[in-house]
Symmetry: C2
């Protein structure tokens, strides 16, 4: 009998959830992420918040099996963040700090990878052993699960599908990483907004573009179709590398629902080689909670 | 103390090697692959050849730990070939047949995957835990190794990088799978020959095109450069999925050597996102023996 804490550490807010041994959320809380002063308060704040929530639930620290943390940056060997501009961090040994503070083991992972693990544990890809999640929001991230585990990659680049060099490039469009070719620059919410602006001269949010497309507006339909084509092609690339049982589409933009997923499926089947056409492509189910689920699972599958 | 047999089952010839426990080849032989009569003689021929070579070496059948086989087709659960046109086979339970004939365990794998495992065991990617091999010959195949194991994929599509939908397509060029977009149609030996024919009207072998490029002939250089660009871009895609420690370039076309590898490296660094530029891209070392090494390793790592 024990408990596991899952932490989703974001640039603005940090979500914390306490799971029982059945993988059910027993309690949760959310705190502001204090990124000032080089982010030096962040880990202490997390430890304090964990102690407070355990105290409220009358759970002793020694009932804690471990704590998992999803972080918005590259992670080395499940313990250390190489650097994380959003948090103000240089190289930071997250695991050693929290292990010392809380007296239990700690494992950390990249947030997009951890969300994929959460969906594979309790969400859209549960009951599978291999899945790939593509998270479409302001940017595009991803996570690759094979044999129930995250593929982190030798340099931490596993699942960085937002940086697929998939596009020949267009004038004036560059990914945050500096490349003109990245999937992210064309299929993120920002990419959709930029494409619609180029096509019509009008500035609309990504959600508004999708609503217009659903209402049959030709320019919006063309922008969404192009985004779906690139995402379907991206899934076909992924399938030729790891051939997962299911693709999971998540992130804020996935609220567009089946309207989004259908187009991705159509183009996946167009691009992928014949013997694996028809792979499952589904919408994420855990929403903003995927991160805390996956973080807890990091500890449980260690 | 025991021995393992590795078999590389090809459409024309079948190579068989007997390994000792240190992973050294103790004896080897080669037989013709009899594809007539729906390939019904193939497995019996292998069993007979294995018995003969063991007999010559005075090795008893009960000293055999197992037999691994690389086959030129898709494989289910390490035991059964779904179908294999080159061998005349429909669904064929290779493992059960050889286990019954030889009284030891049998594991099978797709030939390109198995070659990648061989290089990871004793070749260019030895001493790494993650690697991706791209085999460039008449076609383009691949194998993905993570945590020392082949990623076969849910439908057996793991490592099928020859079917990357990487090209917008050109008139009259179609991959064997029916798609106009596949990497294989543009970067295989056949693709190079076709590109050179389009550019010059002249019919040269792939080797001759590479020789001409090495001698500075502009048309040949342009054809080779385009092939290297696509392969470098393909490696960048792979890196954003599994981020391996090393890429291994093998197959007959890799005899072009560093001249080929250098261009692939250049374009990899051009296309891949900044934090993983400079990944190792090396030439295969085991040549035609990669298959028997990988086949033996299938058994040893099971």
């Amino acid at each position: 009998m024990g408990f596991v804490v899952g932490v989703d550490l974001g640039g603005t807010a940090t979500k914390i959830a306490v799971f029982n041994e059945q993988g059910e959320i027993r309690a949760s809380t959310q705190i502001k992420t204090r990124t000032e002063d080089g982010g030096k308060h962040i880990l202490g704040d997390i430890a304090s918040a964990v102690r407070a929530v355990l105290n409220e639930e009358a759970i002793e620290l020694d009932e804690l099996v471990g704590i998992g943390v999803g972080v918005p940056g590259p992670v080395m060997d499940g313990r250390t963040v190489t650097s994380c501009v959003n948090l103000g961090w240089g190289e930071t040994d997250v695991a050693s700090f929290l292990e010392r503070e809380l007296g239990c083991k700690c494992r950390i992972g990249n947030d997009a990878n951890v969300a994929a693990l959460g969906e594979a544990w309790k969400g859209a890809s549960r009951d599978t052993h291999s899945s790939v999640m593509i998270t479409i929001g302001t940017g595009v991230g991803g996570g690759v699960i094979v044999n129930d585990r995250i593929i982190t990659g030798f340099h931490g680049g596993g699942g960085e599908v937002g940086h697929f060099p998939i596009h020949p490039g267009v004038q004036g469009r560059v990914c945050g990483c500096g490349s003109p070719y990245c999937l992210e620059a064309f299929t993120s919410a920002n990419g959709v907004v930029a494409d619609y602006l180029v096509a019509t001269g009008k500035n609309m949010s990504c959600e508004e573009v999708f609503d217009a497309a659903k209402n049959g507006e030709p320019e919006a339909l063309a922008v969404v179709d192009n985004m779906q084509r690139l995402l379907g092609q991206a899934c076909a690339f992924i399938a030729s590398v790891v051939d997962p049982e299911v693709f999971v589409i998540g992130g804020g933009v996935s609220k567009a629902g089946e309207f989004l997923a259908e187009g991705i499926r159509k183009y996946y089947d167009h691009y992928v080689f014949s013997s694996i056409k028809g792979s499952k492509i589904v919408l994420a189910e855990l929403g903003n909670e995927a991160g805390v689920y996956g973080a807890a699972k990091l500890v449980l599958s260690d």
